[in-house]
Symmetry: C2
Amino acid sequence: MKSHLLAYSHFTEEEIAKVLYHFEEKKFKKRDLVIEAGHVDSYQYFITQGCVRGYIVDYNGKEHNIAFGFEEFWFGDMESFTNNTKAHYNYQALEDLTVLAISKSNWDKISNEVPAFIEYSRNLFRNAMIFQQNRIAKHLMQTAEQRYEQLIYENPKVLQRISLKNIASYLGVTPEFISILRKKAAQK
Amino acid sequence: MKSHLLAYSHFTEEEIAKVLYHFEEKKFKKRDLVIEAGHVDSYQYFITQGCVRGYIVDYNGKEHNIAFGFEEFWFGDMESFTNNTKAHYNYQALEDLTVLAISKSNWDKISNEVPAFIEYSRNLFRNAMIFQQNRIAKHLMQTAEQRYEQLIYENPKVLQRISLKNIASYLGVTPEFISILRKKAAQK
DNA sequence: CAATACTCTTGAAGTAGTTCAAGAAATCAC
DNA sequence: GTGATTTCTTGAACTACTTCAAGAGTATTG
């Protein structure tokens, strides 16, 4: 399971064992909060089963989804993890969820023991950064309709596993408007 | 100059020298393109003087700014740099510009010679990722007016050094609308 | 220092997406 | 399996932001 992931960088068998040793399996029920904004959460989570949404709550109490995660994805509140500050984002299980969790201290321990792990995590962060930058570019370039169509085209499992309401929030529009888009698309 | 930057991670004097050795100073005139979309650009650039904008061109030929960079900032097309593919983004000097450029091969060389550099770059990428994620969150939560006010409040040098047109493009609105916002703010 | 080219502003008309309210359909809890 | 909650749809009125066009102000160039 994890070794599949570790194809990202070059590890020896021994190193993989060292890395895996520091992970801890955790389970959550659908709707449970894995990370709660306002609390320190110094873990990173690797999803083995289920899916999550990351969201932030604005001053009006409205929720805005910033990310979805499925099997083989990492998630975590990076600022809280890195600086030991309060998390800005919530992460909630959208299905029953199994994760491999790793604490900051174990993460640092691995980084010291296994140099390839630093490189691995550097690649993770870099890819995350590229993803986020592309997401911003799409937001600037595309209408909500184009963003919706591209999302379900590129990532069909989002449509199957994520509610319209959550997709709308991720795209930055209202659920009502997605409904209008669906009707429009169906008429073609 | 660079040693100021290298306060980010822990380096010995010798390591700093090794790192600096692989950089190359380059100068650009105002309006020059440092990176051109569609071409491979396997460099990262550290700004010592001047500022740049990163932008992408959509199917209608419209430009959308995804980033600004000032002194002591890194920029580069991360995908092109990492995978040796064609750049998606353009980077243009908005003032006469001096950068320290480092090629992918030198970057990798340093990574092998100086372990602290891997950690340094991991921190860079992580911070960039956090920044981009927060930017997305702001886009989802705030109106254009709120984004404009927060930008000039948090980053006054943007207002001083970047044209309204480029600020508008960064915020994802038209220059005309920013003009309306300014008028509105002045009336208060 | 004149010519040209950008930058910023203003206004009027248009549109993408929102809000609110209410009903139908699906899912969840006991 | 029935009642309660949540999800999705529909419609009508609204608003944040755009588009187009034109003019004034400010840089840039030869």
